[in-house]
């Protein structure tokens, strides 16, 4: 794993977040500690925002994502950090509604509705009811004193740091040296692709056999999935051969293919590389064949795989074909939970002497 400036900044933001959460976790005394924690947490959010805007193009989708992600993170932090359980529960509601927005962005309106009904509707209301029932005389000592704040917050933020570092390493995205190199290469490829003379195109694209190809491979680090993909998709198929190409169309097709692979890398569309095997357990009702390369799936205007608008109808088809047994088991689980909850909630003294 190589640390670039990007990852260093991300880790600094996480460090700031850890310091803020550690300082803000409820404890019996220390008003000053709480006062310090506010600017630290705000600084963490601000630095995170700066990183976000440097990484992503500014459009309505990124703006909505930012809005809902901030809502979810602030709501979650409110749940963890507020000494009053009722306030914590309301913060959790905010987090759930914000994740609902994220679900909408992920083209899952049915799951969004179900989540908001179950969490914000049922769970929060019953638990607020329980809180009000249990807490009649002011706040409790146990709410004002966190258990092992240093170690616990360290554990949580170490987990976050591990995950983000691995993710940033796996999906380098549009930043870093590799991306700059690739962007320059893509620009060059587009320029070359505009030529209409086969001979000039051959010379421009590479004096030797596929030098553009080797430069792409070098940009990808010489080995690994992406180089393999260039080899299988373009070299082995015999399309990218400047000297043997019969006509202009073939060469241009190969150039477009190369450009497509680079764009897949840059915009993270193809990181879910499926194993190239035939046959799988699920039917096509749960989506396209998993062994299909993502470049062959139909895309919508945003460049993501196209999903139909009839969301609940398609989830229903998936649930009642591929996941039928799981649906039945989920029903059984609900029944068992209902019986168990009634049994547990009975008066303990009545249970001892039936």
């Amino acid at each position: 794993m190589k640390f670039d400036t990007w990852m260093t900044w991300t880790n600094l933001v996480l460090l700031l977040g850890w310091a803020g959460v550690f300082l803000a976790l409820p404890r019996r005394e220390g008003k000053l500690r709480l006062l310090i924690s506010f600017p630290v947490l705000l600084g963490c959010l601000g630095a995170g925002l700066t990183l976000y805007f440097r990484e992503y193009r500014f459009n309505i989708e990124t703006l909505l994502f930012l809005f809902f992600a901030l809502g979810a993170i602030v709501g979650g932090a409110g749940l963890v950090l507020s000494a009053s359980p009722a306030r914590g529960a309301m913060s959790f509601t905010m987090a759930v509604i914000s994740t609902g927005g994220i679900f909408l962005l992920l083209a899952a309106p049915f799951v969004m509705a179900a989540t908001i009904i179950v969490y914000a509707g049922a769970i929060i209301v019953t638990f607020l009811f329980l809180l009000m029932l249990a807490r009649q005389n002011g706040s409790d000592l146990s709410d004002q004193e966190s258990r092992d704040p240093l170690l616990a917050s360290l554990a949580g933020f170490l987990f976050m740091a591990t995950m983000t570092n691995i993710l940033l390493d796996a999906f380098p995205g549009s930043t870093g040296a590799v991306a700059n190199q690739l962007q320059a290469l893509v620009k060059e490829t587009i320029e070359i692709g505009k030529m209409n003379d086969l001979q000039a195109l051959r010379e421009k694209a590479g004096a030797g056999e596929g030098s553009l190809l080797s430069r792409y491979k070098a940009a990808f680090g010489g080995s690994g999935y992406w180089v393999e993909r260039i080899e299988t998709d373009i070299q082995k198929s015999g399309r990218f051969s400047f000297t043997q190409a019969k006509d202009l169309k073939e060469v241009k097709l190969a150039l477009t293919g190369l450009e497509g692979i680079a764009n897949d890398f840059l915009y993270d569309r193809n990181f879910l590389h499926p194993p190239r095997i035939k046959g799988h357990a699920l039917s096509t009702l749960s989506g396209t064949d998993p062994s299909l390369p993502i470049s062959e799936i139909r895309k919508d205007a945003s460049g993501k795989p196209a999903m139909p608008a009839e969301n609940s109808a398609f989830i229903g088809r998936s649930l009642f074909s591929d996941y039928l047994l799981s649906v039945e088991l989920a029903g059984l689980l609900l029944l068992a939970a209902t019986i168990g909850a009634i049994l547990i909630a009975k008066n303990p003294s009545a249970r001892a002497n039936p």
Partner: protein, 142 residues
């Protein structure tokens, strides 16, 4: 500058999971612990949906529906359990329940007697309303 990608959603899921983890480990209130666990589930749900969206299939959404079912069952059981535990010890503090700890270990109930809760301030008490005042002698005469 790229359009929003899978990485953004996965990082958000990791952050929500990590916040839930911190909450579950530090807070003593059983209800807040339960809600923190639910926050972790939300983080996982974001990840599942993002994978499904960027692969263009329904498996992520189907899986999240099952997560939701299990969360609902969990909430029902937890509600009954928390209320029963509250009635037995008159507190929502999870540290009061340490009967299954290893022998020789100190009780995690380190708050016992550490700090007396502030006494209730003397709020003014309103007299009962609606009671007929004691009738003495007539104070006014015509």
């Amino acid at each position: 500058m790229s359009p929003i990608d899978l990485k953004a959603y996965l990082v958000l899921g990791a952050i929500l999971f990590g916040l839930g983890l911190v909450g579950f480990l530090t807070r003593r209130n059983m209800i807040i612990m339960f809600l923190s666990a639910e926050l972790m589930l939300q983080g996982v749900a974001v990840d599942f949906l993002a994978f499904g969206r960027f692969r263009g299939n329904w498996q992520g959404q189907s899986f999240v529906l099952f997560i939701l079912t299990v969360a609902a069952c969990e909430a029902a059981i937890a509600m009954g359990l928390v209320y029963t535990l509250y009635r037995l010890k008159n507190s929502l503090d999870s540290g009061k329940w340490s009967d299954l700890r290893e022998e020789g270990l100190d009780s995690p109930d380190d708050l016992e007697g550490a700090w007396a809760p502030a006494e209730k301030p003397d709020y003014p008490v309103l007299p009962l309303a609606g009671i007929k005042p004691q009738s003495g002698e007539e104070t006014s005469h015509v």
